[in-house]
Amino acid sequence: MNSEKENKDLQLPQILNLDDDFSIVKKFIDGDDSAFNIIVKRHKEKVRNIILMMLGSTDGVDDISQEVFINVYKNLKHFRFESQFTTWLYRITINKCKDHLRKIKIRSIFSNFKEDDDFGYNHDHESKDISEIVRKAILKVPSKLRIPLLLKDIEGFSYQEIAESLGCEIGTVKSRIFRARESLRNILKPLEQELMQ
């Protein structure tokens, strides 16, 4: 009797929650534009925080978020359901941030603009707030190492998710996070006393 039940369970297709990302994306693809509002509502804060974390500044967070969702709106019909929707969404977000950072870097070549000038939620350089010191130190870590570290320590992504979002191997993620921590440790070494207080 039990084995019969097991077989029945095996034969039954997996019933997806109608509220999951795939179902909502499917609704949107089938022409229900209101499904897009659900997607935005569900993921906007995560996207905004990833952008903040990657830029290190609140400036432009909403603009880039908007660009991300416009991009999603335009390309959602081509989503192939081969990976998690969030992985696809975060990859778009990270790529948008990278584009933005590249633009800033190019701009800084032709001006006296300094990337770390914008870092921090406020612009008080004399602040002794530990969080701010750490944020400044994090910014000094190369972005290639910084992004996986922040995705892990702040957003709580798994190595697998980071690898998928960045399009690299898990081993690379592991190595980069380690190197980011080493780099951060070296940066913060002179400030060890302040941090200890």
Binding site: I130, S131, L184
Partner: protein, 521 residues
């Protein structure tokens, strides 16, 4: 150094909870045993905490969705606007392209128009041939043309070409379908009225022929209902009329005065001679084309020589065919006697028509009256025929006489009453003698008892086959009768078996008697 890095990497992954269970165990062991590794582990724990504490999540943006929707609508409206204006954009682009083309090729439209025009004109100008030839016009028609300015286009439909002049004196022509112009004079009447002799009559015919030849290439028609008229035809009409009247006046001045109003005179008029000479020298290739959907004027060169050549070839061909036809002067049709009877008895409504072509011969036979045949009345026989058909499967047969000599098997023939065929049956009859012999019952024919026995057997066999041997024994194959007959046969066989048993008993007795006699001996 590399080994240290690997250990440190594993510690970093360990605090992230990303190590495999085996690596977790080995790393934990190393942390416990090594002070250096423990220190590294603590450092990474502290760094992880500092990093995660350094960022606070952003406050929610309540207007984010509103702004996003607005941005999306803007993008949508742009594409919608683009779609809305696409026809105008298309027209605009076509206009620009046309403007550029016309800038570099100003005569483009005109050339295209001309090209199309010449194409249409070319279509209507195909296979033009003289009206005089196409409508098979004769001297009467040409005379009427000179007198009444009319030329028939198609005599059967009474369509004709009417030449005339408008109020300004310009030449016009029109195609009319009903000829309401009652001609009071024709060529024959004209000749009679002028009392022309044969020579004069021939002369006027000759004049008309000459003008007909000149007019021939000036009025052309084709099978596309195109009529091409050379304006020179008006001059020829006038010249011809003047020439005819001049000839008429010269032939019979008195009668001519009676035909024309007083004061008109053509004979000796230099103007007439000058006009005729002038008209003949005028050569203009401009034609006015009347087509079913347009009227246009264009230069056209009618190749009279080519046309004459074609006509010549056609005439030669016709002559050849006529000559061939003459070769077949007579046909012989042979009918059998029945056909003759039909003719004699007036069975045909009309005559038989035979059409002979170059490659086939078609005979048209009129409707033949069917003879009346008196068929017998089958009504009385119908029920009988139906019965016969229903019982067709029931048939009788006659058995022939069974041969006297007892053979191993009987062959007998069944003759069907309708004599449509024969059937042979082979009936195996058990050879009783051989059965008896096989079972050790030898019958001595010399034995008195055996003789009796044989007689008895013969009687029995005779009885058995008596029914078969009757002259006209009828076997009804219907189920009941066959069953009865088989039952009867079964009884007979049973009787035979009993008789056989009796013989056997008797034989046994006889045998025991003989044995007893031998013992006694």
């Amino acid at each position: 150094m590399k080994k240290n890095n690997t250990i440190s990497e594993n510690i970093s992954a360990y605090i992230d909870g990303e190590l495999s269970p085996n690596d977790v165990l080995s790393t934990e062991a190393k942390i416990k045993t090594s002070f250096e590794i423990k220190k590294k582990y603590d450092e990474f724990i502290r760094l992880k905490k500092l990093t995660s504490d350094s960022f606070k999540p952003l406050d929610e943006s309540p207007y984010f969705e509103t702004r996003l929707t607005s941005a999306l609508n803007d993008q949508k409206s742009f594409s919608t606007k683009l779609k809305h204006w696409s026809p105008a954009l298309l027209i605009g682009s076509i206009t620009i392209v046309l403007m550029i083309l016309l800038k570099f090729n100003p005569n483009l439209i005109e050339n295209l128009f001309e090209q199309q025009k010449s194409k249409i004109a070319g279509f209507y100008k195909e296979n033009l041939r003289p009206l005089l030839f196409a409508a098979d016009l004769n001297n009467d028609d040409i005379f009427n043309f000179a007198l009444y300015s009319q030329l028939p286009l198609d005599k059967s439909q009474e369509r004709y070409l009417q030449f005339g002049y408008d109020n300004n004196g310009n030449g016009i022509f029109e195609i009319k379908t009903i000829n309401d112009n009652q001609k009071s004079l024709d060529l024959q009447k004209f000749k009679i009225a002028l009392e022309l002799n044969q020579e004069e009559s021939q002369q006027i015919d000759s004049i008309i022929n000459a003008y007909a030849a000149a007019i021939e290439p000036l009025i052309l028609v084709n099978d596309k209902n195109t009529v091409a008229v050379n304006p020179g035809v008006w001059n020829y009409q006038k010249a011809m009329l003047a020439d005819i009247l001049s000839f008429a006046e010269n032939s019979n001045k008195q009668k001519f005065r009676g035909l024309v109003p007083a004061g008109f005179s053509f004979a000796g008029n230099d103007e007439v001679a000058g006009l005729v000479a002038e008209v003949k020298n005028l050569h203009d290739n401009n034609y006015i084309f009347f087509t079913p959907d347009s009227i246009f004027s264009e230069k056209f060169q009618f190749d009279q020589e080519e046309f004459n050549k074609d006509i010549g070839d056609l005439q030669k061909d016709l002559e050849r065919k006529q000559k061939d036809a003459k070769l077949i002067q007579s046909f012989t049709f042979r009918f059998d006697s029945s056909m003759q009877n039909y003719y004699q008895n007036g069975k045909f409504d009309s005559e038989i028509k035979v059409f002979i072509d170059s490659n086939k011969c078609r005979v048209h036979i009129p409707k033949i009256k069917m003879p009346e045949i008196n068929l017998p009345n089958f009504d009385s026989l119908n029920s009988l025929i139906e019965d016969v058909v229903e019982n067709f499967q029931n048939f009788s047969f006659v058995l022939p006489e069974i041969p006297e000599a007892p053979g191993k098997h009987f062959d007998f023939k069944i003759e069907k009453f309708d004599s449509t065929g024969e059937m042979n049956f082979n009936i195996d009859i058990p050879n009783i003698d051989s059965i008896l012999e096989e079972n050790g019952f030898f019958i001595d024919p010399t034995d008195s008892l055996s003789e009796e026995k044989l007689k008895s057997r013969n009687k029995s066999l005779e009885k058995l086959f008596k029914d078969f041997n009757n002259d006209a024994q009828k076997w009804n194959s219907q189920g009941g009768s066959i069953k009865q007959q088989f039952e009867s046969l079964k009884k007979e066989m049973e009787n035979l078996r009993l008789e056989m048993q009796q013989w056997r008993n008797k034989l046994d007795q006889n045998k025991s008697v003989k044995e007893a006699e031998i013992i006694e001996i």
